[in-house]
Symmetry: C2
Subunit: 196 residues, 2 copies
């Protein structure tokens, strides 16, 4: 019965979600069909529904997995003894590495979360808002203690979070510059511009 390929101890559901993540990233959530997904996994479309409840459930798994990863890292960094600049740099580096290590997941969550339906849509929307507020808070503390240039904190958050998406173009074009070097360049440009 176990026709779904089952490498590295993954459950069938995990295999489906993994394949879907890649498919959603490549074609977009709406344009990727369950029949495409079934083919990628190696079963008939109807068989997918023995492991998942709906197409949207897959999107939910992807979006909240990403949201949880960022929230947990933010917990750690806020509890750390790093300076304000150090905390910001640490979060920036985490975002960059998430783009490298979990590219498909991060891109799908960022681009397709609007296709969630309530209550997941509101929940995700609110988490996103709260997360940005936390990051702005870290920056504001840096401004208060003189580490960071006095600029609008929410604007810095906007710039940082979106700048990291540039890695998509890099990922796609396979430029000559290496991942490690790209990370250092991004940190250099974005963090150095913040110092007061």
């Amino acid at each position: 019965m176990a026709k779904i390929k089952n490498k590295h101890n993954a459950t069938k559901k995990e295999v489906i979600v993994e394949a879907a993540t890649r498919l959603f990233r490549e074609r977009g959530f709406k344009a990727a069909s369950m029949r495409d997904l079934a083919e990628a996994v190696g079963v008939e479309a109807a068989s997918l529904y023995n492991h998942i409840q709906s197409k949207e459930e897959i999107l939910q798994e992807i979006c909240f997995k990403v949201a949880n990863a960022f929230n947990e890292q933010c917990d750690k960094v806020e509890a750390s003894e790093l300076s304000s600049i150090g905390k910001i740099e640490s979060m920036l580096r985490f975002h960059i590495r998430m783009m490298f290590d979990h590219f498909d997941m991060v891109m799908v969550a960022d681009r397709d979360w609007k296709h969630l339906s309530d209550p997941f849509l509101s929940n995700y929307h609110e988490q996103r808002r709260a997360y940005r507020k936390r990051l702005a808070g870290i920056i504001e503390r840096g401004i208060d203690n003189g580490e960071v240039k006095d600029v609008d904190a929410p604007t810095i958050v906007l710039i940082m979070l979106h700048a990291v998406n540039g890695i998509e173009s890099w990922h796609r074009s396979k430029e000559k510059i290496g991942a490690r070097q790209l990370e250092e360049n991004m940190v250099l440009i974005l963090i150095d511009g913040l110092r007061s």
Copy 2:
């Protein structure tokens, strides 16, 4: 016969494309249906096809209108007498203002251009690549003449182009900060970090 609302001397096709631009931005190109569009315009779905040839033709108009705007501005700036930093700042400001003044258009082109089919897909892809190379060229000249910090030029382009997309979140949340002030903050953070 002219049932399509025709404010400010727009042709029917222009009215359709304008409504479609908003709809595509709100729901995504794939998720927005021609029946939705027909309703927004105030006609039956079949009637749209007297003015346009296909759903994709609308997407083509949107994408290449945006691409042309950026290319033309780049022509002007490259031909100007501005310093290298001045040229980069000028292009950055143009991107920011395009986000403010033509938000739907810019977002759709950026998010949905992959749904074009060949030869438009390859054409757009190539224009995008060439445009980024031109921007990187401006920055590289700035590095050569000592105006700009010595960092990887393509990385700076990636950061600048994507950072500007942060205006989407601002647009959506209607934060307290004004458009003009957001522009100055972005320029301050992104351009000041470049100076050598």
